[in-house]
């Protein structure tokens, strides 16, 4: 964390006089150009979101000429919050994201540990299965998944969406977790085994705590992913379990072109994600350093 600014400044201190294009980006040389580049890039990245925000503040009559109007209103937010489906969708999405994150991490941490710590045919086969399944396109299993969840009687319930989400994450997360455990020296676990710890004890008490930064990073990414996921939610839920992304899409697909309401809901949906990101980004960057 703190090593980087130090690294930058120590290099800067040692630098001979700069020349060329990169010199222009450096502090001292062309600060203004640098600032302009940064502001331009940030603006480009923020623009679609700014546009959603602007649309959400316009009355229904103004959404076709968002750039021209001067009337602004907060009425869209009030209207959206009064709809029961939106309110339920918020609760459902929050519950699904949180539980899917906990379940996926719980399931994959052991699988990644196995991939990292053992050699031989079993881990190789497991890795091959994961790698191949990771490649299979969603489209070829989401459609039959609909029938499968029906058969199991969990269609349109929390479980019917949670468990497929866990299945999605198994492949990718196991792979990433393997990386985390590869970066942790196993000698502590051997020491624990010699001292009479069971294999499970060594895993839970020694390896897991060392992997917590990585787990935190994955938890944040997983939560954001599930919060924003659309395809599964669309196909595997119905009226009983409305999900936020589906409700938002319905504003402009089924109920006519209610851009203002969709935008207002999208801004409300962005708030939890923004909070998670603002507080979580340093843990993500720290945790993903392998």
């Amino acid at each position: 964390m703190t090593s980087l600014p130090q690294l930058g400044s120590s290099i800067d201190a040692l630098q001979p006089p700069r020349k060329g294009f990169f010199a222009a980006l450096a502090p001292g040389g062309g600060r203004i150009l640098f600032a302009l580049v940064v502001i331009g890039v940030a603006f480009l990245f923020a623009f679609p979101v700014l546009w959603v925000l602007l649309t959400s503040l316009r009355p229904a009559s103004g959404v076709f000429y968002v750039h021209r109007g001067t009337e602004f209103t907060l009425h869209n937010f009030v209207e959206v919050l009064q709809q029961e489906s939106v309110y339920n969708a918020f609760i459902n999405s929050f519950a699904i994201s949180t539980f899917a994150t906990l379940l996926s991490l719980g399931v994959t941490v052991t699988s990644g540990y196995m991939l990292s710590r053992f050699r031989g045919p079993a881990p190789s086969v497991w890795f091959a299965i994961i790698y191949v399944l990771r490649c299979v396109p969603y489209i070829s299993w989401v459609l039959p998944l609909f029938f499968v969840t029906r058969q199991l009687g969990i269609f349109d319930t929390y479980w019917g969406l949670l468990l497929p989400h866990v299945a999605v994450h198994v492949c990718f997360f196991s792979w990433i977790m393997k990386g985390f455990f590869d970066g942790i020296d196993p000698s502590m676990e051997y020491a624990a085994l010699i001292d009479g710890c069971t294999r499970w004890g060594a895993f839970f008490r020694v390896a897991m705590p060392a992997a917590v930064p990585g787990l935190t990073a994955l938890a944040i990414l997983c939560w954001l992913y599930t919060w924003n996921e659309f395809l599964f939610a669309l196909l595997l839920t119905s009226h009983k379990t409305p999900i936020l992304t589906v409700v938002m899409a319905q504003f402009v697909h089924e109920l006519g072109m209610e851009w203002h309401l969709m935008s207002a809901t999208a801004i409300l949906a962005l708030i939890p994600a923004l909070i998670v990101t603002i507080f979580g980004q340093k843990y993500v960057i720290r945790g993903l350093r392998v």
Binding site: S10, P27, V49, V52, P137, I139, S140, A167, N228, L288
Partner: protein
């Protein structure tokens, strides 16, 4: 070590699995169960369907062998439009997101006032639901009301019917995809950059190496392993992209921007031929599995050469 002592007292019963194997199995059991029920079982259902005559008015579901596969593989649209589109989309999307993501990671790795705010703004695409972003981008490129045409006309350029022409529609889709995924690359590469050792950079600074040479001969080679993982993961995901394309163009105009997952979806649900859609999905899956192995091999060699 302690095990041998225990084994002397209690001669081991012959078991199918040793203690180590049982531990390994238990570790992967929950993950394997989730995969078996919610991925392998549906894939098998789809694979089974692709060999049958699975239409709504034929409850018999007669076995027809490779009929649907032959149909898809001899469909000129699939071979000459859908597959080239998919490969083209994958290459451009991954290449651009990688380059931009690396640039952003290098930017965020510097220390400047307001860095935290800029970083949060650059991560915005990760926080917005892709479907909402895609709806909004489609709206921005609307030929009558979209802000893009308004700005173009303001500057004096003619507005484009963006989504009514093949290559402009494809560019809009690519723009949306690159916008969505650049922050993801930036985040992973930034984490990679911050875990690099300091010493080589200090040595280079003392030797007076230029920024370009530091980047070319130090940063890129040392980041290669992270880049390989990013590229492989993203290439697979880009190959099977569905929701952005579906929201922005629905494969149109005239099925010219279809990727293979859109093709499979249209065959399955709009042409009401679930079997043919499944066959198309299976072909796509086979292609990406082979491609992913080649990519992994090639990139792995490239990454190891640097060591």
């Amino acid at each position: 070590m302690t095990l041998s002592a225990i084994d002397l007292d209690h001669p081991p019963k012959r078991r199918l699995f040793g203690e180590r194997q049982r531990f390994m199995l238990l570790l992967i059991a929950p993950a394997a169960a989730a995969l078996a029920f919610f991925q392998i079982l549906p894939i098998m259902t789809g694979a089974n369907a692709s060999f049958r005559d699975w239409s709504l008015h034929d409850p018999q579901m007669t076995w027809v062998g490779f009929k649907h596969y032959v149909y898809v593989l001899t469909d000129a649209g699939f071979v000459w439009t859908v597959m080239p589109n998919t490969i083209f989309f994958m290459v451009i999307s991954v290449a651009c997101s990688l380059v931009f993501g690396l640039a952003l990671a290098l930017l965020l790795n510097r220390n400047f006032p307001g860095r935290a705010v800029v970083q949060t703004i650059l991560l915005l695409p990760l926080m917005v639901a892709p479907v909402v972003a895609a709806i909004m981008i489609r709206w921005m490129f609307n030929d009558q009301f979209g802000i893009v045409n308004v700005v173009l006309e303001l500057v004096g350029l003619p507005g484009q019917p963006w989504l009514a022409q093949r290559w402009t529609a494809f560019s809009v889709i690519l723009f949306a995809d690159i916008w969505l995924w650049t922050p993801w690359f930036a985040l992973l590469l930034l984490a990679g950059l911050q875990s690099l050792p300091r010493e080589p950079f200090e040595a280079a600074a003392i030797d007076g190496a230029s920024h370009w040479r530091v980047f070319r001969y130090l940063t890129v080679p040392m980041l290669r392993p992270v880049m390989v993982v990013c590229i492989v993961i993203r290439a697979i995901d880009a190959f099977r992209t569905f929701d952005i394309v579906w929201t922005i163009s629905q494969g149109g105009p005239a099925r010219s921007t279809e990727l293979f997952s859109i093709y499979a979806y249209i065959e399955a649900f709009q042409a009401m031929n679930f079997a043919r859609g499944s066959a198309a999905a299976m072909i796509g899956a086979a292609v990406i599995v082979v491609l992913a192995m080649i990519i992994f091999r090639v990139l792995n060699r490239w990454a190891e050469v640097s060591k």
